[in-house]
């Protein structure tokens, strides 16, 4: 990424400079006192890293000792294959450089992208380090209780992290308890390309909880299908290629310096996200990633509001809470399974030339790593079986009896 790239160049220069000066002389002249080594490398001698054999730049220096962790430089954060594939499939026919122009600022090149303290103050990445890429719509910001705001300047206010403005949301229960990203996503897991700790590595379902006693829940649901309290959702991501058309200024949205594109969304929400089947065949939160539209607004061009992709993704909102939404929010809500009835539609995107009749109708949309619910599956899960009714009544009885009726206001 751009900023980290600069930091990396800086460290590379420092290393090269030290190599030129020579480690022995550096030690003799007291350079090590001006560049005190803190953190994980505090116990090392200068020459452990700055020896004549280490000519290959910072990464190779690190990897000389941390060979088992170099996998991270070949995994998703580095190659970003799925994002590239998405951009190619959705946008190549309109702009073959789409990915480079819009998506290339977030990827891992070297160790210091995450270990921003550099080699002389090596530490576990801080939440700020992760946030530099896992920002905005991308999972990570949600963990700290941050949801993206609408794009127009009118809504760009409030909490600011790294130049991005956020809505204040309920943070993840693990964040409240003081856990950082690395507590679940260990170096070893990142290097192995695995997602890190799963819920059940630390928690076992407590059978005193009504929902946990329902076999179908335990068999078919990801824990976070219920326990993800909210999820950032963007409906209609418009990529407006304005280039130097001065009309672009009317949109009053943030624009990366020199970028040909503006981004503006049709609608953002941050409530309980819809559900679908993930790749493991379990019920999981899903969200648009992306329902993307391409508009070429360069002078003389006529292409606009082309539906470039209507793709959803099963994902893990990092918004875990002890509580959940009520039974009815899944069992009785077809909208949540992208099976909204036509007469229940509120937004009418097709009336404005956006092709889709409803975002909450799976017809004409895809789920990249799983599949949508079928109407039959939804009917089955909404069936009021005796077991469901019994559990439902027990659940609501508990909720109702805890309400204090003496509170007047």
């Amino acid at each position: 990424m751009a900023v980290n790239g600069q930091i990396q160049v800086f460290w590379l220069a420092v290393v090269l400079l030290l190599l030129m000066v020579g480690p022995v002389r550096a030690a003799e002249s007291g350079v090590n006192q001006q560049l005190p080594v803190r953190g994980a490398h505090a116990g090392l001698a200068c020459a452990d890293c700055h020896s004549g054999e280490n000519q290959g730049g910072q990464i190779s220096v690190c990897i000389d000792c941390h060979a088992d962790q170099q996998g991270v430089l070949h995994e998703a954060m580095a190659h970003r294959r799925s994002e590239q594939a998405f951009a190619a499939a959705a946008f190549d026919k309109y702009d073959p450089q789409f990915f480079e122009k819009n998506c290339s600022s977030c990827h891992v090149i070297g160790c210091s992208d995450c270990h921003s303290g550099g080699a002389h103050a090596t530490a576990r990445p801080s939440r700020e380090d992760c946030h530099r890429c896992h920002r905005g719509y991308f999972v990570g910001a949600d963990y700290w209780g941050l949801a993206p705001r609408e794009d127009s300047q009118r809504y760009q206010r409030g909490i600011d992290v790294d130049g991005e403005k956020y809505l204040k949301m309920r943070p993840d229960v693990h964040a409240e308890a003081g856990l950082d990203c690395g507590d679940c996503h260990s170096m070893a897991s990142l290097a192995a390309g695995s997602p890190g700790k799963g819920c059940r590595d630390c928690h076992q379902p407590d059978s005193r909880i009504i929902e946990h006693r329902i076999a179908a829940h335990l068999e078919r649901l990801e824990c976070y299908a219920c326990h993800a309290a909210w999820g950032a959702q963007e409906y209609g991501s418009f990529f407006l290629r304005v280039a130097d058309n001065p009309m672009g200024d009317i949109f009053q949205v943030r624009r990366e310096p020199g970028s040909e594109y503006l981004r503006s969304a049709y609608l953002k929400r941050q409530d309980a996200p819809p559900l679908g089947w993930n790749a493991a065949g379990r019920v999981s939160p899903i969200r648009p990633q992306f329902i993307a539209y391409y508009s070429d607004l360069r002078v003389g061009s006529k292409l606009e509001n082309v539906l470039a992709a209507a793709q959803w993704k099963a994902y893990v909102p990092h918004t875990i809470r002890r509580g959940t939404v009520a039974c009815d929010a899944c069992h009785d809500d077809p909208r949540r399974f992208l099976l909204e009835a036509a007469e229940r539609r509120i937004y009418l995107p097709d009336k404005d030339g956006m092709t889709l009749p409803s975002f909450w109708d799976s017809e004409g949309q895809t789920l990249s790593n799983g599949r949508f619910f079928t109407p039959e599956e939804f009917a089955r899960l909404s069936r009021r079986s005796p077991e469901y009714v019994r559990s439902y009544i027990e659940k609501w009885k508990n909720l109702v009896k805890h309400v204090d009726t003496s509170s007047e206001r």
Binding site: E150, D151, R154, R157, K168, S295, R384, I393, V400, V403
Partner: protein, 618 residues
Amino acid sequence: MTLFARPAFLLHCRRIFSGMVLFALGLGALSLAGCDLAAEFETSCTFCHRGLEHASPAHTDCADCHGGNPRAWDKRLAHRNMHGKKNPSDPQVWEKTCGRCHPDQLARVKSTLMTTNTGMIHNIQLTWEGEDGRQYGAKSLQTFDAAGEPLELAGVKDLDHLSGELYRKFCALCHVGLESNRVWAGSHASGCAACHFPYNDNATYQGGDATVQQQWPYSETHRMASLPDNRVCLRCHNRSGRIALAYQGLNDGNNGLVPTMGGEPGPVMLGGVRNAVHIAADIHFDKGMDCIDCHTSRDLMGDGYSYRNMYHQVEIACEDCHGTPDELPHTARIDRENAEPLRESRNYAVPLEYGAEMVLTARGRMYSNVVRDEGKFWVIGKRSGKRHESKVITGTAEHDIPGHKRLECYSCHSRAVPQCFGCHTEYDQSGRMTDFIKGYETPGAFSESEDYRALYPFPLALNQRGRISPVTPGCQTFVTVRDQRGELLQEEYVARFKGRNQLRFAPFYSHNTGAKAVGCGECHSNPAFLGFGQSVLTNGEIEATLLCEKSAEKPLDGFITMSEGKTRAFSAITREESRPLNGAEVQRVLAVNLCLICHANPQDPIYAQELDYGRLER
């Protein structure tokens, strides 16, 4: 004539004036000779403003409304002493123009809320700590209050408080006393013409008079709209409650300006660089009804008395046409030749006849277009003449649920309710801004930013009628004040309201009615409808997930919290006697889920009597 000629065209007029005078002399001679050609003689008005449409068949004499001198052939002399320049209905002159023939209407319009804006001003005073015991109007006015007692409204220009300044700089353009001509899709004339000579989106003339073709700012044509269409209402009712948008299925949600339209921001543009997208429209709109098909002239032009708020002046209710569970709509027959509906309906596509059985408004006055005919109730489109049968709910089980006696119809029958959360207003004393009442710039500029907008779900609370109604932020205002050097005097201040520093929600009918109601289970099981905002539940706890910046617990999109079973409302509901539901009411609403799981049909007989909430415990 009202409409100034373009200079080039005028020169052309002048050149032929001399010829005209000779021609006129000739005509005079002919008439002396017994020919009645003088009757064909045209005035200087019609000579220059050739092609200008007549205001109406009853309004054909230019000078009757506009004054001036139709016999003068010099533009300056002809236009001298015109009433109100281009607009003879401007409040400066409306006594001698419109009011000469329509004194009753003028007397009403002078005191109507759309002229006085007493409701807007009063509510801003209440919510910006600006109440000073006086009642203000857009202008000072001697009138009568709802009880018929003399009432003096002070002019809002004398309200020397931030609340007065906010009204004058932010809100004052939307009252019929002032022309607004720089707002896309939001421009209107002043006075009677605000509604009866509509502007188009761009406030330019599109009629047949070449001297004003495409000129700004003018009404779209010179044709009087005796029955204003929906676009007229949209000119003002597109902000705040946005009812004219929601009614016709438009939503200005996030200023995203997408999808684009013809390569430009879209799809429907509104003033203030806002856009609207299409949403499901109100069922009445879908059926082809106009705003004025429900709203009586007294709702809009007033009835001669000055009301403090919109909900005091508006005389109609859903029940008027749809009945109640126990009673059919109330009616009375036209039994006087000078009955109001006969006079009012003269311009309708279908005028009424003596003896018609008229449906009555909630105040017991006759509608002029809703009748009972052969046992059915009909709304007749004032402009269209189309007959719409009004479905009556009397005797239907699903509307006769004792627990729902307190519900407004639109608590269940609203499809979407626009909600704007978090209004952050900054007052910067170093800036300047136009004071529309004073008519010039004064020190002090307001600016706004916002948190989030939503349409669904929407919270419910008790309104001024003691009934349960949708509510919407009204407003969640956070005030920041900077002095002339840019120093912060106040930051994100929450004003005192009803005795404590708190945000506010206002009872609200969004005008986005659906034939299909919100589902029983949907409302009873989702605490957002009770004002908890979006949330997750555990026993005794309702945890909001979208939070107010000033709190770790309070929802941004709600006004109640529940912790350890205790409900606590932290925002007010604005109107008198209004309030959020209390703990006992919250419990009752949630307890209905224990019934709904087996008795999902609202027509189920168990709902025909008071529910026994504890039944399953025994």
